[in-house]
């Protein structure tokens, strides 16, 4: 004889993973390391932005990068000239998950890092669903992608603290209207910070770096931060 019954669970599938990520976030805040998760489409310029940001922050903060890709360690090689960098290779997975980040941080062995960037896999969909233990999530939108992306990929923009518009040097040549992209993104996330940047030539990095330093001050003061809903 068997019996059949219904068990109520009502649990977020990612609850346990979020707890592990939250613990990492607490630990990193206590040691004074701001963790920044950078999302974008492939080719939006994450690596270029982070290289330029590391150079720009040189006198202000010690930074390191964990860089995710499906294959190759080319981005870590590119970044190595600018900051300690470690490649996280997913072997096919379309996003980073927390255990890989934690292993990467342990393997990086970079002392007294004040800002740790995590360059996620180029993809505006899947990475938005995974808490990597970051204090701050950034979405990068390049002017060559079109200004309609915030409305098409709402989760990436809803869960981010700031949007960096990259490749602004190309604005004269592409049909991208920064105010339209910002308005669309702020319809989804009203308090989203927006920065307009380019890396060839380098421009607009000062406000963006000021924002990062202000975020680090916030974690040092113990202010609430972390994943947004």
């Amino acid at each position: 004889m068997t019996t059949v019954r219904v068990i109520t669970v009502e649990r977020d599938v990612q609850a346990q993973a979020r707890e592990s990520a939250a613990e990492f976030r607490r630990k990193m805040a206590e040691q004074g390391t701001l963790v920044v998760n950078v999302l974008s489409s492939p080719g939006a310029g994450k690596t270029s932005l982070l290289a330029a940001t590391a150079d720009h922050l040189h006198a202000r903060a010690r930074v390191a990068v964990l860089v995710g890709d499906i294959a190759t360690d080319r981005d870590a090689q590119r970044l190595a000239a600018h900051a300690p960098a470690l490649q996280l290779t997913t072997g096919g997975a379309c996003h980073l998950e927390f255990p890989l980040v934690e292993q990467g941080w342990d393997a990086l062995k970079a002392p007294e890092i004040e800002i740790l960037f995590i360059e996620n896999i180029g993809n505006l969909v899947c990475p938005a669903s995974f808490d990597l233990g970051e204090h701050c999530r950034i979405v990068l939108l390049s002017t060559t992608e079109g200004d309609d992306k915030p409305a098409k990929y709402p989760k990436a923009f809803r869960t981010s603290h700031a949007m960096v518009v990259s490749k602004c040097d190309l604005l004269p040549y592409v049909p991208f209207e920064p105010t339209r992209a910002a308005a669309d993104a702020r319809r989804i996330r009203p308090d989203l910070e927006v920065f307009e940047t380019s890396t060839r030539p380098v421009a607009g990095l000062e406000p963006w770096c000021d924002f990062l330093m202000a975020q680090r001050e916030r974690i040092l003061r113990g202010e609430p931060c972390g994943q947004r809903r």
Binding site: M1, T3, V4, V6, I7, V13, A93, V125, P154, R187
Partner: protein, 125 residues
Amino acid sequence: MHEASLIASVLRQSLAIASANGASDIVEVHLSIGPLSGVEPTLLATAFERLAPGSGLRAATLCVQERELTAACRACQLEYRVRDFEFTCPTCGSTDADIVAGDAVMIESLTLRSPSDAVPTSSNS
């Protein structure tokens, strides 16, 4: 496709709950998703069909319910349905809000089959 990763987690958690409840089989797995869960129901089903047989959930059925996106206004605490991802409180007009439902993949319930003399050790863990 991160649905496979999420389904692998659903299967692990379901088996742990079934074991804690002395169940011999999982008959149904009920999930809920919403507009900001970031998943496709058909891809969840495909991942389940592919991964369930090797996980011990031999004959389980996946049921996915779609929920509305719901936010709680930080100014007046009203809970309201979010349409077209526009977070504006219908009562006070504030755009400062927290999502309370519709952005996660939730295991809502499990239908378990047990030997009649099995004694459950837990109802929800």
